[in-house]
């Protein structure tokens, strides 16, 4: 469910008129309609932090916070009575705070800075304008709490700077209907239809003549993700390839076939490394005996051989030494040998 968040009740006036809202918790200024919660968070960082934190910890079904509000302008080119989606929000509290938060609206291009007290002097505004286009007293707190609770957030602001900051509250009271209508129209027009979950079908995993373990399935997804980045139609062409079809249609067991499909994918994924892995694995396998066991997992990257040996007699030891002497280091290195 979405939580709509306003600093002042006047800003939410049209929402109260249009949505059938019932008070949910009057001490929190929290209301609820069929599909949304509405919170009137009050002005300032502290009030927003307190109320929003309580609401989010109490109502875990809130998935996204949408904020509407009026902001002061630090950029003359921004048109009044337009709605701006906020991209990044900064904070200034005697000095710039290092932390910033970025909204989930990927299309947003306007940045905002939240301050702790009203800003009047042009010098201060100039300083803040280095980082932001807009100025308010709440959004940083909202974004910060949203991040802590791992909730998505978006913030939409309109500009009110034809008037002095000091008269902002009065202006809102006087023009509440106008601003609230503006926010409502925006809300209705951008209300997303819940997007159908993107198809995550994987034609290989869905093939009933194959059976993949959990780890193998994870590997398949990883390979496919990369290979689809290289070629968006990869899955279709892979599953219609002769090699794939001959594996799938063979008489082998599902387990064997799945392993072969995995290897086929691994070859596409990283042909050079896969070939090297297979080659070195083969060498280590041929050397393995009752006294010696090789761990080839790190060999390719580290170029050093790790093994476990066990012996009870000097004869066993001689066997181990003889096996180790058989290793041709230069040959083994192959493509792992630095150029």
């Amino acid at each position: 469910m979405k939580l709509l968040c306003f600093a002042h009740r006047n800003e939410a006036k049209t929402f109260f008129d249009r949505l059938k809202l019932s008070p949910l918790d009057t001490s929190l200024n929290l209301f609820k309609s069929k599909n949304e919660f509405i919170l009137i968070s009050g002005e300032g960082i502290q009030s927003t932090t307190e109320l929003l934190s309580i609401v989010l910890s109490k109502y875990e079904n809130i998935s996204e916070i949408i904020n509407y509000g009026i902001a002061g302008s630090l950029d003359k080119s921004l048109k009044e009575n337009s709605i701006f989606s906020i991209r990044t929000v900064y904070q200034y509290f005697d000095d710039f705070s290092f932390k910033s938060h970025t909204s989930h609206d990927k299309q947003a291009t306007i940045d905002l800075i939240s301050v702790h007290k009203r800003i009047y002097s042009p010098e201060d505004k100039l300083k803040l304008s280095i980082y932001a286009h807009l100025l308010d007293m709440e959004t940083w707190a909202l974004a910060s709490v949203a991040k802590r609770f791992k909730k998505k957030w978006k913030s939409y602001k309109t500009v009110s700077d034809s008037l002095d900051e000091a008269t902002k509250c009065q202006q809102i009271a006087n023009e509440a209907k106008f601003y609230s209508d503006l926010f409502w129209n925006h809300f209705i027009n951008t209300k997303e239809q819940s997007p159908l979950s993107e198809s995550s079908r994987n034609l290989i995993l869905e093939n009933s003549s194959l059976y993949f373990t959990h780890t193998q399935a994870h590997q398949i997804r990883k390979y496919c993700k990369s290979l689809i980045l290289r070629d968006p139609s990869f899955l279709e062409s892979f599953t219609s390839s002769k090699k794939y079809k001959s594996i799938v249609e063979s008489e082998k067991s599902r387990k064997e076939k799945s392993k072969e499909v995995l290897n086929l994918l691994a070859t596409d994924y990283d042909p050079i490394t896969f070939k090297e892995l297979q080659r070195t694995q083969k060498v280590f396998k041929s050397l393995k005996n009752q006294y010696l066991n090789f761990d080839h997992s790190e060999y390719i990257e580290k170029n050093s051989i790790k093994f476990k040996g066990q012996f009870k007699s000097s004869n066993d030891l001689r066997n181990i030494i003889r096996t180790l002497e058989k290793i041709n280091i230069d040959e083994l290195k192959g493509k792992s040998k630095d150029v």
Binding site: F96, S100, L229, I272, V339
Partner: protein, 338 residues
């Protein structure tokens, strides 16, 4: 590039009070005639003070002009450049107007905002003092920025030319992905000043080196410089895996060698794409659908994120062998293994 484009590039121009009358500041501001510079006391009170997302460089890039304080010239990491002589780098600028998807700057600073330092006289003084002990030292520009991308505004290198002319044993490397050579061409070509270009084949360059000039344009700039007698260096770095790598690099090397006097190419340095953990996290965040992620990386011996060792070696040897097949002498090829 005209001044209108320059102004468009920067949202705000901020100048440290102390360098307001520095001739380099005056020069830069003269190239940005429409900018209304904001005067600030200290760059460090603003630059990097807040975490500004990297991709805001696309539409919200500020330019800071200031004085570099602290150590101005620093020893370069071991694997830097041609081996043998001592290597140093100096910082004349932070950040870059280009947007290469693998660029380490996106995970290095907390802001994409650009800084141009203007106290070149002090940088040169420090270079001079290093030369007392290491007369053959190399000095590299462009560790944290592109050396030439903004040269049409800054034109700082002419100040270094006389110095390196008078110190012929010392070497200066200006490393770039730009073709901004208009202010370089009128200078006297010096044996000890190298203009080095990071080159990738056309297709990967289009895909990954956003906003940089095309490979063709870079080769044209290299040709102009080499025709005029300037010393050149080529960095094939980062090499990024592609199924068509062999064809792409053969084409690139052919184009380059056809257009350049090979005797003026001092070296070819080869390196494979690599990231620190932090940088890689940023690359994933900023370019989630990039083909950079379409090839497997591993956490390597030094905790850097790279291709597997066989893949790295295959890439390096493939490009090296193409160079050798074109009669480039092995002594001119350096592999950047770090």
């Amino acid at each position: 590039m005209n001044s209108k484009a320059n102004l468009k590039m920067f949202k705000k121009v901020l100048v440290e009070k102390e360098v307001l009358n520095n001739p380099n500041t005056i020069h830069i501001l003269s190239k940005l005639p429409k900018a209304k510079p904001i005067i600030i006391d200290d760059l460090d009170q603003y630059w990097g003070k807040v975490k500004k997302p990297y991709l805001q460089k696309r539409d919200n890039l500020n330019l800071f002009i200031g004085k570099k304080r602290g150590t101005l010239v620093k020893p370069a990491p071991d694997a830097y450049g041609v081996s043998g002589d001592p290597h140093y780098y100096f910082i004349h600028s932070y950040n870059c107007i280009y947007e290469c998807q693998y660029c380490f700057l996106q995970g290095y600073f907390h802001t994409p905002d650009l800084v141009l330092y203007v106290n070149h006289d002090e940088i040169l003084k420090e270079i001079k003092s290093i030369l007392v002990e290491h007369p053959n030292a190399w000095f590299h520009a462009g560790e944290f920025s592109d050396s030439l991308a903004l040269n049409h505004i800054t034109n700082e290198w002419s100040q270094y030319w006389d110095f390196f002319k008078n110190n012929p044993k010392a070497k200066l490397e200006l490393r770039t992905k730009s073709v901004n050579i208009k202010n370089i061409l009128p200078l006297e070509p010096l044996k000890n000043v190298l203009l080095t270009f990071s080159l990738s084949p056309q297709d990967p360059s289009k895909e990954f080196d956003l906003k940089t000039p095309s490979t063709r344009a870079k080769i044209k700039a290299i040709k102009q410089l080499s025709d005029a007698g300037f010393q050149i260096g080529i960095h094939f770095d980062p090499i990024i895996y592609s199924e068509k790598l062999q064809i792409q690099y053969t084409q690139l090397i052919n184009d380059l060698l056809e257009n350049t006097n090979i005797d003026q190419i001092n070296y070819f340095s080869l390196g494979v794409v690599r990231y620190t953990k932090d940088v890689y996290r940023q690359v994933e965040l900023n370019y989630p659908d990039s083909k950079l992620h379409s090839h497997p990386y591993i956490k390597s011996f030094d905790n850097k994120i790279r291709y597997s060792r066989p893949m790295r070696n295959w890439l390096l040897s493939t490009v090296k062998n193409i160079l050798l097949s074109k009669d480039v002498h092995e002594s001119r090829i350096y592999l950047c293994m770090e």
